[in-house]
């Protein structure tokens, strides 16, 4: 099952790829406790990269470094560099707000604003000055919801509160909200962990479509999901990057014993 999926993925890789993100010697600390150790990782443009590994190994920490969401945590400090299109995002001159407009994020638990569906999607474009008149907003809301595969379900009740949708719909609303500001990268932290298999399938298909336009980094606990949606996989263990490579290689021919154990489910 996994093998056939991998072959399909492999077939799609034919364009020349460029590194979107490049992390060099990245160390992350929470107060005195080190959570990530010397991470070196390239994330390719228009690909889906999945981060896997046992709980507490630092996947979310790495993801939150990529759009500097860690800034919110006072005790968190970062050493080393992360370059986005060649520019170090931890440079002093970088505007975090601008960075986060370029790098969208979808969280583990769907977190729509307690506002209408329309306002949820229109909020980002509004604060980034992408909207001059009402029709601009209408258009962005429609295209974003269409890209997120939610338009058909909500087009008649855009004024209804976003929190009134089902879990899967809420998560797609959050994806629509993230892509409404037209980011270059979308970070997803276990986006399907609160969803049933059908909603998960919808979102996975969505991720596959989104990678045409966006670079996607996804944290997941499901090996099948990583195999289905991603082209590159990074395996983490205790804060270190153990193995990184093409997804089909990692799943069919892992170089490291720990990786082997983890993907075959032998890891405790």
């Amino acid at each position: 099952m996994i093998n056939t999926l991998l072959e399909e993925n492999h077939m799609q890789e034919n364009s020349i790829l460029r590194a979107k993100y490049a992390a060099k010697n990245l160390d992350v600390y929470y107060a005195d406790k080190q959570a990530l150790f010397g991470i070196n990782l390239d994330i390719m443009e228009n690909q889906v990269t999945s981060l896997i590994g046992p709980s507490g190994c630092g996947k979310s920490t790495l993801l939150r470094c990529l759009n500097r969401m860690n800034d919110v945590i006072d005790i968190c400090s970062v050493k080393g560099s992360i370059r986005l299109d060649g520019q170090d995002i931890y440079d002093d001159g970088i505007d975090v707000v601008e960075l986060r407009a370029r790098v969208g994020m979808v969280f583990q638990k769907p977190n729509p604003f307690p506002k209408s569906i329309y306002d949820n999607v229109a909020y980002g474009p509004k604060i980034h000055g992408m909207i001059d008149q009402k029709s601009d907003a209408d258009e962005i809301v429609e295209t974003s919801l269409k890209k997120a595969g939610l338009w058909q379900e909500v087009k008649d009740r855009l004024a209804a509160p976003g929190t009134g949708l089902s879990g899967g719909q809420q998560q797609r609303l959050c994806i629509a909200r993230a892509i409404a500001v037209n980011p270059e990268v979308i970070l997803m932290d276990e986006p399907c962990s609160a969803l049933d298999p059908i909603a998960t399938a919808i979102i996975e298909q969505l991720i596959d479509e989104l990678k045409q336009k966006f670079t996607i980094v996804i944290v997941t606990h499901s090996m099948q999901q990583a195999a289905r949606v991603s082209q590159k996989t990074a395996f983490f263990h205790l804060g270190s990057l153990v193995e990184f490579g093409d997804t089909d290689q990692i799943f069919t021919n892992p170089q490291n014993q720990q990786t082997q154990d983890y993907i075959t489910g032998r890891y405790g």
């Binding site: 969208g104 994020m105 977190n111």
Partner: protein, 426 residues
């Protein structure tokens, strides 16, 4: 064995029932006292809502009102209208012609009746002075003693020397009643007038306006200041010793007896800044100092209870910190902050001690029209009336308590409504 267990079960049930009954008794005890208190206050307040009036046929004689016949409104306004009323009384009871009798007779009507009569007649801008020289049947307020007699506070059974009305006066009252020239009406003046030395003229309006002005100042100062302080402490200040120290001291401030704030206000606003005594402005400033900690504490709690996922969502799509706070966190925290402010205001409304310190306890017979007019507030008015010897002020005091309770209930109700309406929308 089974027997032992079933006995144990029975015991457990009994204990459970007893436990429940204790709680029920406690509630009934509390409710009983509350009911008792409210009903005594309400019962004692009833007389304040009515007032006795006497009908007299007055003659607006030009000899008294317009001596030099100039028909000048200003001059007429200063004329002795009380004398007109007195003359009407003497005409009503011609038998009372001795000096002593007349002295007793004129005590049947309110000493303010003439003042009100002139105000009523000359109130309009273009006053029609045609009433001079005519006569008319009008109703005037009775004196406090007559009113008390009608309300059964003065008994006929008591010896004449121990009574505020003598037998002769009671005779006149009886004859007025028999002629249908004495009636009891709803006392609108209680809601229209400010305090007065004459109980029949004393009203609550001055204190209500004073309270409103004072609370308006309190709200306008303590709410924005409190919210800004809370936002800074909760969202911007680095958690650490200094923030903790500030937080603890805000809690301490909230626990300081209110009279201390009054002393501070006296020293600061009156003595150093030289603001006017007894003014709602100073009262409001003092009460804001007192309310501020409450607003800060409740707003901080409300901000803290906004789920972090909302902040992450906003930050995640590139909202700045200020946008996150203004667009998402603050709206969600607002009901909590407002509830805190209203509860703080309700407490401020009932405060007496700090306002005594800044002179709001003075006798003020004018309704304040702005925040710098001398004024008093509801609880202080209650205190003043509770201190007055006349019988009628006792019921006025109870009525003032009812008015105060009414405002308190409205405010607390508002707080509950707000909380209901906006509770947990995420």
């Amino acid at each position: 064995m089974i027997d032992k267990m079933s006995r144990h079960t029975k015991k457990r049930y009994q204990a459970e029932r007893r436990f429940k009954i204790y709680g029920l008794l406690a509630i009934m005890f509390a409710l009983g006292f509350l009911g008792l208190m409210l009903s005594t206050i309400a019962l004692r307040a009833i007389p304040a809502f009515t007032q006795t009036y006497i009908q007299l046929t007055v003659e607006f004689s030009a000899k008294i009102l317009d001596v030099d016949n100039k028909r000048d409104v200003k001059q007429i306004a200063r004329a002795d209208f009380q004398k007109i009323i007195r003359e009407a009384l003497y005409a009503e009871f011609p038998a009372a012609n001795k000096r002593q009798d007349k002295k007793h007779l004129k005590k049947l009507v309110s000493s303010e009746a003439g003042y009100h009569l002139s105000r009523d007649l000359l109130a309009a801008e273009t006053t029609d002075l045609n009433f001079i020289g005519t006569s008319a049947a009008i109703w005037v307020k009775s004196s406090d003693d007559v009113d008390s007699f009608i309300k059964d506070f003065i008994s006929r059974e008591v010896d004449e020397i121990n009574r505020r009305l003598n037998d002769q006066q009671i005779g006149w009252i009886d004859s007025l009643i028999a002629d249908g020239k004495l009636e009891t009406r709803f006392n609108w003046d209680f809601f229209k007038f400010a305090d007065s030395r004459s109980p029949e003229d004393a009203g609550i309006r001055g204190a209500v306006m004073g309270s409103l002005f004072t609370l308006a100042i309190t709200l306008m100062l303590s709410f924005p200041l409190g919210v800004f302080a809370a936002i800074y402490l909760e969202e911007y200040a680095k958690p650490g010793r200094i923030t903790d120290f500030i937080g603890v001291n805000i809690n301490n401030l909230a626990a300081i007896p209110s009279i201390v704030f009054g002393l501070l206000g006296l020293a600061l606003f009156l003595n150093i800044f030289g603001m006017s005594r007894s003014s709602p402005l100073v009262g409001g400033l003092v009460l804001s100092l007192m309310t501020l900690p409450t607003v800060i504490i409740t707003t901080r709690a409300a901000l803290k209870s906004v789920p972090p996922s909302i902040r992450e969502a906003a930050l995640g799509i590139g909202a700045s910190k200020m946008q996150t706070i203004l667009h998402h966190v603050l709206p969600l925290a607002m009901p909590g902050a407002l509830t805190g402010a209203i509860i703080g205001m309700a407490r401020a409304l009932g405060e007496t001690a700090p306002l005594l310190m800044i002179g709001m306890v003075a006798f003020i017979a004018d309704i304040p029209t702005n925040i710098n007019d001398p004024a008093t507030v509801l609880p202080v008015q209650i205190y003043i009336w509770a201190d007055s010897p006349e019988r009628a002020f006792e019921s006025k005091m109870s009525a003032a308590i009812l008015v105060l309770l009414f405002f308190l209930i409205v405010m607390n109700g508002l707080a509950v409504l707000l909380r209901r309406k906006y509770e947990r929308r995420w």
